[in-house]
Symmetry: C2
Subunit: 433 residues, 2 copies
């Protein structure tokens, strides 16, 4: 396994009345077993394609030439898309250290100012685009696509089409119709893999491959976590089941309303944002669902920790620690020659981060805040795949415990309809339309 | 005023039983008047230096040559510091569009991997550093400083000192001792201005000036908001007092535990992070304090909105809208020639953002979620100064209503002590230190 999951410090044995009661947990873990059985069945019959992604390799072979073509032709690749079409790729690409890879840029907002700047900054001849919309009709993504296509056409004429690749589910959609018209390649988004569960599909992995990452290793990391979950006789050995039962139990029994994910290393900043969508959109339903809060190691010690330690007892904490003692630049004792720096002289940057992450977890626990810990030995493609699979399974199992559908998002439709109404109004007022 | 503050949609008149009861609010606004009187007195006697910053100009004149020197000599400026030493400057610098300014880079974490990359990437001859630690002893900032100083000394010898400027409060500190030893200039951090309230001091404004921003305009924007608060006869005319009474009232009466700040434009992403620290660290005390949650316009519609609309009723929302209809690139009707795009053809990117921000606010309100709105006509230095002063005053007034000290952070000390213990242990085990 790519990580160690320590959760005993969420329970009443460790935290007294502020921890989760074992009886509550036991009643939930029994139901987590049902969820695991459901996953096993859906893996077997193929009805949840997400569970088949980790073992797939054929699709990666098909993606490879696309990624290599983009790497060969472009210095910059702009990924257009929002929500699940953006966060998985961003999370993975943060691991890239391939100096020869194109610069990846994820545009997830429809900010007129940002797009004006983007269109000024790019060199059309050296810029490629990946346009991702599962439905093929997302308003924000269509807008991004159309203004970028116009700018690229103005610069390159019909040659612009070869700078775009779209990803959408099969079947008729406006994105597919436009791509057909303009001669732009479209790759298939699996209709059975929702945006926030798509990081292990081409949605996350095409950008990752363009950035020079090993997509098979991402999937292999995910496979290890999945195998453990599908093969386990005892749910206590499945961290995602344990995590789901704790999260739902704490929400119910201890009125925990917020789930703070606190990695320490910069390369996991985007991962925490990816988690936010996964958790919020899957579980925030019918009056239930805790709020996912992203925090970052030493930064938020100086921003949020006061609230975490002394504010309301309405949060659970997941601290993600990477082994880093002894790594990084060493503080030169000759420069740090001052009594006040005795604790730092001769230590490395990694020593400080290591001490800080342990100190924060310990302090949270001493203050009886439910805290679980992920310990990572390394942070590479396999680890990231493993973490992603862990949290996808944990979310699906938590949804089973909450009795909600982890794969829908029924409440966001109203805003979309209103947006169209407001745009139509504006068009009428402008006499256009 | 640089913004319009609309808060009626937080009350029971608009939201029924889910809104704030007027009687509760009235009892709080009476106490907000006391807070305003306290601020008036502390402005008059100078005992809260934050309140005198907006009118100050002499210090800016003194900073100008420092900023100009950095602009002339460096292509990249790295700001070392964490929490309040970083977030204010970052927030302001996001406004910069000065292509001739050095690239500003805010390093707020102590990630060994990030620092290894930083030290490889920079060109020592063309890189300057600003080292910010109010106490002059912050472990993270000292570590950052020492490894960067070592790298710069290795490249430039004694010439490295001229590439550093430190900011620390007067009086003895290890940062000041080292700077004296190595010949590094130190500027004074006002001891009476805490880190999270320091954006309008040199802590935020020196980076802003290096980035080519108009620091006097930032302060003028803040002054307008402050004048209104200090001069008002009726607290209902003071948005920060109204906002504080609503936030504390909703927390008490409606069990609102989270305060979501949701700007739409990319240039306010960092502002939401700055707000997180201000609100959390000032108010998260003695079991009280709501959790500040940063969200971003259209991005989080596709990530958090499902939870916001259909999850627990434990959040209040502050939507920050910038007038942007008609701005940005226009969608070419010839490209968007498809029935499904009738609502977008001929519209601009700004039209879509404008429609989205209004639609989201409206949808939240229709679902009876307490929602207030900031309307901005422009986003410039004055607007940012105004928003910062608004939220600093709102936080101070909310602290008065909660009966906590907005300026301390007593709970974070334990973690700092433990960090030192762990480092000492590691040193003993390594046989060093």
């Amino acid at each position: 396994m790519s990580y160690v999951h320590l959760a005993s410090t969420c329970f009443s044995e460790a935290l007294g009345t502020h921890g989760l009661d074992r009886a509550v947990y036991d009643s939930l873990i029994v139901r987590a077993v049902e969820a695991l059985e459901g996953l096993r069945a859906r893996h077997a019959d193929g009805s949840l394609p997400l569970l088949r992604l980790p073992a797939a390799r054929d699709d990666l072979a098909a993606l490879k030439p696309v990624a290599e073509d983009y790497r060969a032709r472009f210095e910059e690749v702009v990924v257009l898309g929002t929500g699940g079409s953006s966060l998985g790729g961003r999370t993975l690409c943060r691991l890239s250290e391939d100096a020869s890879a194109p610069r990846l840029r994820f545009e997830d907002n429809v900010d007129p100012h940002t797009f004006d700047a983007l269109l000024k900054e790019i060199d059309p001849a050296k810029t490629g685009f990946v346009v991702i919309s599962k439905s093929g009709s997302t308003a924000e993504t269509m807008t991004q696509f159309l203004v970028c296509l116009a700018a690229m056409k103005a610069a390159l004429g019909d040659g612009a089409a070869a700078h775009f690749t779209a990803i959408a589910e099969p079947g008729d959609s406006v994105l597919r119709r436009l791509c057909a018209k303009f001669g732009i390649d479209v790759l298939d988004h699996d209709p059975g893999v929702g945006g926030r569960y798509s990081a292990l599909s081409l949605v996350g992995l095409l950008p990752a491959m363009i950035a020079g990452l090993d997509a098979a290793a991402v999937r292999a990391g995910a496979q290890g976590v999945l195998d453990l979950a599908l093969g386990a006789d005892d749910p206590e050995t499945v961290p995602s089941a344990v995590g789901a039962a704790i999260a739902v139990g704490l929400a119910r029994e201890k009125r925990i309303s917020q789930s703070v994910l606190m990695p320490y290393v910069d390369r996991l900043r985007e991962f925490a944002l990816w988690y936010r969508q996964l958790w919020a959109e899957s579980l925030g339903k019918r009056g239930q669902g805790t709020t996912p809060v992203d925090a970052l190691g030493t930064v938020d010690q100086h921003s949020q920790l006061q609230l975490y330690l002394d504010g309301p007892r309405d949060k659970m904490f997941t601290v993600v620690m990477l082994a880093c003692a002894g790594t990084g630049a060493r503080i030169d004792p000759a420069l740090a020659d001052d009594d006040a720096l005795g604790y730092l002289a001769g230590r490395t940057v990694g020593d400080l981060m290591d001490a800080e992450q342990r100190a924060t977890a310990r302090t949270l626990i001493r203050n009886n805040r439910p805290t679980r810990i992920f310990r990572l030995e390394t942070l590479d493609e396999a680890t990231m795949g493993a973490l992603m699979m862990h949290f996808m399974l944990e979310t699906i199992i938590a949804a089973h415990l909450q009795q909600v559908d982890p794969f829908d998002q029924p409440a966001v439709e109203e805003g979309k309809v209103l947006t169209r109404e407001y745009l139509a109004e504006a068009a009428r007022e402008a006499g256009g339309g």
